[in-house]
Symmetry: C2
Subunit: 162 residues, 2 copies
């Protein structure tokens, strides 16, 4: 675990940059500079600094999963039989190899140990994934499925504090 140097302390320009780039990740530097009220040079310098500081982790194209043919999203709560590091590490490695698994969270407060978010074509795919892949992983003692009826809020912009 490598902690990065120092908390950079963001001013209003940086916060504005972060806000805009979270919504429009491919905006040109010139347009971005116009929006925040700086000339292109310092604007680009700031963006680079945010990237190198690790505050901006990367950029992503967002694709419409339904239009790609994945019409079913499910949340899967997984319980493990024994809570040993080996069991957990193995489960995580197995699950990471499944492309349908979009997200895997180790959680507390639920009866489950993990919550997976999986995206599949249809219920047949889901059944197959669940029975032939997930529940066969060593240590998995229980699984409970929830299906996503609608994405009310998808993935909002994190406000930069202060």
């Amino acid at each position: 675990m490598t902690k990065q140097p120092a908390p950079p302390a963001l001013d209003r320009y940086d916060r504005h940059i972060l806000e805009i780039l979270q919504r429009e990740g491919r905006i040109s530097n010139q347009e971005l500079a116009d929006r925040i009220g700086l000339s292109p040079s310092p604007c680009l310098r700031r963006v680079r600094a945010l990237e190198e500081s690790g505050l901006i982790v990367g950029y992503r194209a967002r694709v419409d999963s339904r239009r790609l043919g994945y019409s079913l999203t499910a949340l899967l709560h997984i319980s493990m039989d024994r809570h040993t590091p080996e069991r957990f590490a193995n489960f995580e490695a197995q699950v990471a190899a499944l492309p349908q698994v979009q997200e895997c969270l180790l959680i507390t407060g639920q009866e489950a140990d993990y919550q997976l978010k999986v995206v599949v074509r249809d219920m047949d795919d889901y059944q197959n994934l669940l029975l032939n892949c997930i529940t066969r992983i060593e240590g998995v003692s229980g699984a409970h499925s929830s299906f996503v009826l609608r994405r009310v809020i998808d993935d909002t912009v994190l406000p930069a504090p202060e």
Copy 2:
């Protein structure tokens, strides 16, 4: 609900473009063209087509929420007292106004109706959000909290089928 024209049918170039842009959303068109083995012109044409077809929804900078000061992520399962459209619409509107709510899913299969993913600074913030904002929304009859101990898999790349 406006359905878009026709399923474009993706070839290997399109699939390759989608895969790369999901990982490196700000890659230059020239670099992208090199990677997929096309010249810049047709490569850019394809990217534009993917954008206009709606398959690529947009681009996002990903920020490190912890480094922004949000060290606590929680999953909140919400139950509603009565399942009327008005109740649901109102709840969704209220929740959409809370910047801490990163995601809101209408779900089935759980005892809850919604799952929220919220990102806050600390437990005090969480308590405040839960007691003063969420549970006060009309129609909310129950709430159950899970806390994210670790993000095992964050947000993987959707593979383009066929």
